[in-house]
Subunit: 226 residues, 4 copies
């Protein structure tokens, strides 16, 4: 941590030649950790290289500039999260059940990957920076996924799809609610992923109108899975 460490520690032996893929993973892991702890601007390339145990020139050689490095983080983590969520969806299931599974998968992922999630969420509002493209793209993918679920649900229940242009903003709102709950979760870490997911279902599926009538949403009404 200090600039001048006591001499005598075994200096990190000149890093072995490793295949490029491994190196890139090491760097990305470190970068995700640092960016998630500090945020984009306060994070320094020095710290990334320190955490990664790899010298800065290597980082530039492999992943490019700080911006590109950050974009790569966003992309990798977005993909991981989308896969975690997408993996539980099953087209044969009831839409409500699908939404529940997706929501539960989201909170499970967040619970197990705080860094991944924070690196995405912390920069949510950023615009103008060149990596905004990556952020927007990730968000779009998430919203698209949810939109599909919602539309499918609507059509199944008989009303047909939502009116033109209604699905997307609602999906965005749902995303926002999920993020806010995840943020709240950080300060209440004792809650289980399932409890968090249930809260989001209560809001999004039942609505306050039902809640104030005492009608809450319960997973037990549904066939559960792990």
């Amino acid at each position: 941590m200090t600039k001048k460490d006591v001499a005598g520690e075994t200096p990190p032996p000149r890093a072995k030649r490793l295949p490029r893929a491994v190196r890139e993973r090491q760097i990305l892991d470190a970068a995700v950790r640092v960016f998630s702890e500090r945020g984009y601007h306060p994070a320094s390339m020095d710290e990334v290289s320190e955490v990664a145990g790899i010298s800065k020139p290597m980082i530039y050689a492999y992943l490019g500039s700080k911006e590109e490095l950050f974009a790569a983080c966003i992309q990798r983590e977005t993909t991981r999260m989308m896969e975690a969520i997408g993996g539980v969806v099953d087209v044969n299931l009831d839409p409500e059940e699908q939404l529940w599974r997706g929501v539960l998968a989201f909170f499970t992922f967040v619970g197990e990957n705080r860094d991944s999630w924070q690196v995405l969420h912390r920069q949510a509002g950023t615009q103008g920076a060149p990596f905004a493209a990556e952020l927007a793209e990730g968000r779009r993918r998430a919203i698209a996924l949810i939109s599909v679920l919602l539309d499918r649900a609507a059509s199944k229940e008989g009303v047909g799809a939502f009116a033109e242009g209604q699905t997307e903003p609602l999906a965005a709102a749902l995303t926002g609610a999920g993020e806010a709950l995840a943020e709240w979760w950080l300060e209440h870490p004792d809650e289980s992923p399932k409890a968090m997911a249930r809260r989001l279902m209560n809001l999004s599926w039942m609505g306050f109108g039902n809640l104030v009538d005492g009608k809450a949403w319960h997973p037990e009404k549904q066939p559960e899975k792990a």
Copy 2:
């Protein structure tokens, strides 16, 4: 837009002497604009001073450091927004109507004060920074306001208050949904505040469960106002 505009412009003449209060407002106005455009870190005091049409030393003399200046922005804008929303609440009204009014007031405010809102929203996820205290405080105030409404609604409808510890996370989720919708709105500026507010009511009051049944929320069910 660029930091250094073409040279050759006549340098701004020594700013007229204005009373301190006026200058402080000018500075805060400029700061809100710059911070909302760039975000905290990329914003430079130079740009703030340029936009304010005043030299940097005055900013430091009146508002203190960059951090303090930013905190002052957050505080002022939070207060403005809370007053705009709190001003439409009337304890004699039906809770549903109150929520509707609050939500409508939120989107109306955001529509009319993009800068104010962005300077708050852009930094939403920031933690650890010294101004995080101000941000957290503002958020807490907002959530507290909503929580009161929800609890009042619940007790009026007969169920009594929500179970202990349920109100706050739901209020946070509602806030998040509102922010996400406001963000979406930036890319769809043709929507009216009322349309946005209706979307949030549809999600939060009705829930998807009703929506997919074709039961949507309409302000017409309620006595409207302006």
Copy 3:
């Protein structure tokens, strides 16, 4: 102390028109205090004006730039000190007695005017700054005074004056010893001025006592090296 004091204090009533001499004294008093506490560079004109209770433009109008203000401090305090010391000298007295009185007067002055002395001593080594002239001049005056005493003593005791060029460096050394003792005194404030003066006499007179007898120390008495 703080930039923004609570309002409500009675603001210093627009300073009454005072004769120039009074104003200058107020300013110099404040300046001596501030310079002695902080040293030349760290002292700020803002603090001087605050302590003086007079606005900065007045200071510039009356005493000129920071440098000139400091020079004025040096001059005034040097003069005060020289007068305090010179006042006890009496040509009719024994030189040893004269030296004792002078030394005692020095420590008495320092004990009663810490600020005055520090503002002089703190900058002792400064060269190159424009006020160095004032500093050097003051020092020269002090050394000259002592040199006279020493030479008079020497001639009275029979040896005639010190050899050409010997008096001045010895006077300088005596001055340095006095300053160092005064510095030491700051950390041992319980000592009386008389005790301090005696210490300096022990070192200087008992030494000089032999010198004026013609008994000088010679390295030749010792096996030399180099």
Copy 4:
């Protein structure tokens, strides 16, 4: 000398890559020179970097902040001087001879290392600054060394040690006399180190010579006043 020399000089080519230890010495050398010429506050890191022929970031990387850099200078030069003086002391020698050697070594060092000495002496009176600790420590070391010599001398001559608490202030006075003589020397550079050392011995030893014989000076021998 001026901060900005004539333009048009070819900019210094990227400094050759040198091992860290070498660069640190270069930087310290430059810093000592600049600090001794200007004093702590007026010295700028820019000038240090210019004189060192290296860019500012390297200075910060290797030696830390301006304060730390200055402290490092003080420490290195104090150590050099103490070693130069301490190196000539020999416990088997007569104390008087030891003092003579020490004093001569002091003036020899000062004569050969004007910068080193000035960087120490110039800041002598500084208090409160964070590097004051280093300065005080150096001075303490010097005074301690002299005190030991004096006490040893006194005990050898038969009187036993000086009365409790007398040694230190006398050692301080001797130090001050030495510094003042060295300062005077700057304006009379033709003098030899030996001549300077002899002057200090005349003042100090002939004085101490009597003191250690038990012959102290007492004001009671004189008609007192006040």
